[in-house]
């Protein structure tokens, strides 16, 4: 068993990044995730592992520092919160277009605009439907605990390098600010420059030796026919992710007549609602997507015929519900419930919505 600590989600993800052997973190402070860079600076990672940590002059600069380091084959991580992630979008589109691996965490707060610093899940569309320009997809992992904030660093980098694609850890102010028990992994050594050369030398811009053609990192091709080809290649990669990387978790679905679908912190709240419902004799189940892209379409579609109704619960005005409806092809009633603008719904409110909108509706 690894070391047990009581940590905030923001601290756990930072510590996990050091232990993962991440080469660099670039970021800009924004509530509710500033503890990530504060923790990293306090830990002196340049002494612990040689990891570079730099506070950039803006989110625009931070994401482009990530782009540069990733383009040079280094393992690079960044984090921000909603308004900052909006500023990241240009860079994320370039990173996706140039097919570079990196891990980005969004500790979501309420919006739109400057919004609030309180938790929210209203960045679902931004994350899984684009955000930046062009046809690209972000592999998206939604942690529901402090433990998963830490664990998804390792999983995130594994997927990022497997697909040469940016990975988003979509959390929120609740997971970022709360403390839980977390089991930390052993320190991994950082890759040596030689290892990076062996693993990433075929594509990374790390200096052209005599023995190979030059490596060029770009998302540009002025020849539209070539650009279409590049897009075909990206789409094939996304189809592969959709078939191989779907992750989800279910609770009490075996005999469920009613299903709550919720991710991240809403899934935690809904677990309590589920217990309250079962105590009242309501046959409810919970389906928790862990990957939001790829969304667990098939698994939900398989459950749908057994159900009388689905309640989509997220701290937004209703975003994930669109993917649920696509998944079940409207063969079962689907309704949305969620508080938003920084308000967190309570387990009782979720149960009440289930009773009124689905069971009584």
């Amino acid at each position: 068993m690894g070391e047990l600590k009581l940590m905030k989600g923001n601290e756990a993800i930072a510590e996990a990044a050091i232990r993962e052997g991440v080469d660099a973190y670039f970021g800009y402070p924004i509530t509710p995730q500033s503890e990530v860079i504060e923790y990293l600076m306090m830990e002196k990672p340049e002494e612990r592992t040689g990891m570079v940590v730099l506070q950039a002059e803006s989110e625009l600069a931070a994401i482009n520092m990530v782009y540069g380091a990733a383009a040079a084959g280094k393992k690079v991580f960044t984090s921000s919160s909603s308004p900052g992630i909006s500023l990241y979008q240009e860079g994320i589109s370039y990173i996706a277009g140039a097919e570079l691996p990196c891990v980005i965490a969004n500790v979501v707060r309420g919006g739109p605009g400057l919004g609030t610093i309180q938790p929210s899940q209203a960045d679902y569309f931004q994350t899984v439907k684009g955000g930046g320009h062009g046809d690209y997809r972000l592999l998206t992992l939604a942690p529901a605990s402090v433990q998963e904030m830490a664990d998804f660093i390792e999983l995130g980098f594994e997927l990022a390098y497997k697909y040469k694609n940016p990975v988003m850890i979509l959390s929120d102010g609740m997971i970022g600010q709360m403390m839980e028990k977390v089991e930390l992994k052993e320190q991994k050594p950082r890759w040596t420059d030689q290892e990076i050369n062996e693993m990433n030398g075929s594509w990374a811009a790390i200096g052209k030796p005599e023995t190979r053609e030059r490596n060029i990192i770009t998302s540009l091709d002025l020849d539209s026919a070539k650009m279409e080809q590049h897009n075909h290649h990206l789409q094939a990669k996304y189809r592969k992710m959709e078939s191989d990387e779907v992750r989800f978790e279910t609770f009490n679905t075996d005999d469920a007549e009613y299903l709550i679908v919720a991710y991240g912190s809403s899934a935690r709240i809904a677990q309590k609602s589920l217990a309250l419902a079962r105590a009242k004799g309501i046959k409810a189940g919970l389906f928790r997507p862990i990957t939001l892209y790829p969304f667990p379409m098939k698994a939900l579609a398989e459950l749908a015929p057994l159900l009388k109704g689905i309640l989509s619960v997220e701290m937004s005005a209703g975003q994930m519900i669109e993917d649920i409806k696509l998944a079940v092809e409207c063969n079962v009633r689907v309704e949305h419930f969620g508080r938003y603008g920084g308000i967190i719904h309570s387990p009782e409110e979720v149960l009440e919505a289930l009773e009124q909108k689905i069971i009584g509706g």
Binding site: N64, M65, Y67, G68, K208, T218, S219, L220
Partner: protein, 260 residues
């Protein structure tokens, strides 16, 4: 006399550096970009640094620089090259890293990245091509467009009252403690080319010594954007650009050069 009698090793007076690719330059005939590219690549050849160099070219006419420079390169978003270069250089402090940016990129959309990379004293080299116009997008006004100069977005000439003043970003970054060598050069005559090459060599040598950021402005022409013949464009540049953007070193060994 047969051509074979002429093409001989002993008659060789000039040879293209292998650090330039064989791709045909996409720049307009008469443009200074090709010369500036060649200078940077010749310096890297002299340093034997091909395997140790990463270049960053952002948006602008030089967006395709990676087609011509035979080194590993990264294409950056508009204005963000100094941030991209920071990311690389922080991870590889022993490699040569440079950005190759135009005036719109460096002094308008990327001003913050430029100033902060300079202020942090990042150990890379910025090559800044200033031709006072947005060339690639078809001749719009740049931050460095001179007073009264006509562009497609200042068709009656740049009006300082409504459009602001041309920005001397080179003098501005020279004020920052993180810059070590700041100079303004040109590539319109053989003598200017030789001086520029010396400056570029110096900048890369200083990068190896971790002295801080070295910044080389190259005042150049844009005969297409300026709607002039190449010769006329160079004349116009000497008569109009040079008085406002004077040639020579602005900061040497971390010390501002006092002119007077």
């Amino acid at each position: 006399m047969d051509i074979k009698d002429i093409v001989k090793e002993e008659n060789l007076v000039y040879k293209k550096t292998p650090l330039m690719t064989n791709n045909v330059l996409s720049y307009c005939p008469g443009c200074g970009h090709g010369t500036a590219h060649r200078i940077v690549m010749e310096v890297l050849e002299e340093l034997g640094a091909q395997a140790e160099t990463i270049g960053v070219a952002p948006v602008g006419c030089s967006v395709l620089a990676y087609e011509f420079m035979n080194i590993d390169m990264i294409q950056a978003a508009h204005g963000r090259a100094p941030a991209v270069a920071t990311g690389i250089k922080r991870c590889y402090p022993d490699k040569y890293v440079f950005t190759y940016q135009g005036d719109g990129d460096l002094a308008a959309i990327g001003t913050a990245e430029t100033i902060h990379a300079c202020n942090r004293g990042e150990n890379f080299t910025i090559i800044f091509i200033n031709n006072g116009i947005y060339g690639m997008t078809g001749g719009q006004m740049a931050p460095t467009t001179l007073k009264g100069m006509k562009t497609s977005t200042s068709p009656y000439g740049r009006d300082l009252g409504s459009m602001g003043n041309p920005l001397k970003i080179t003098e501005l970054v020279a004020q920052l403690p993180g810059t070590y060598f700041v100079t303004r050069q040109a590539v319109h005559t053989p003598a200017a080319v030789r001086k520029t090459k010396k400056a570029v060599r110096k900048a890369f040598d200083l990068q190896k010594e971790n002295k801080g950021l070295c910044f080389i402005e190259i005042v150049s022409n844009c005969n297409s954007g300026w709607k002039m013949s190449p010769v006329k464009a160079n004349q116009w540049m000497v008569e109009n650009m040079f008085p406002f953007y004077p040639m020579g070193d602005v900061k040497v060994d971390g010390q501002l050069v006092i002119k007077g």
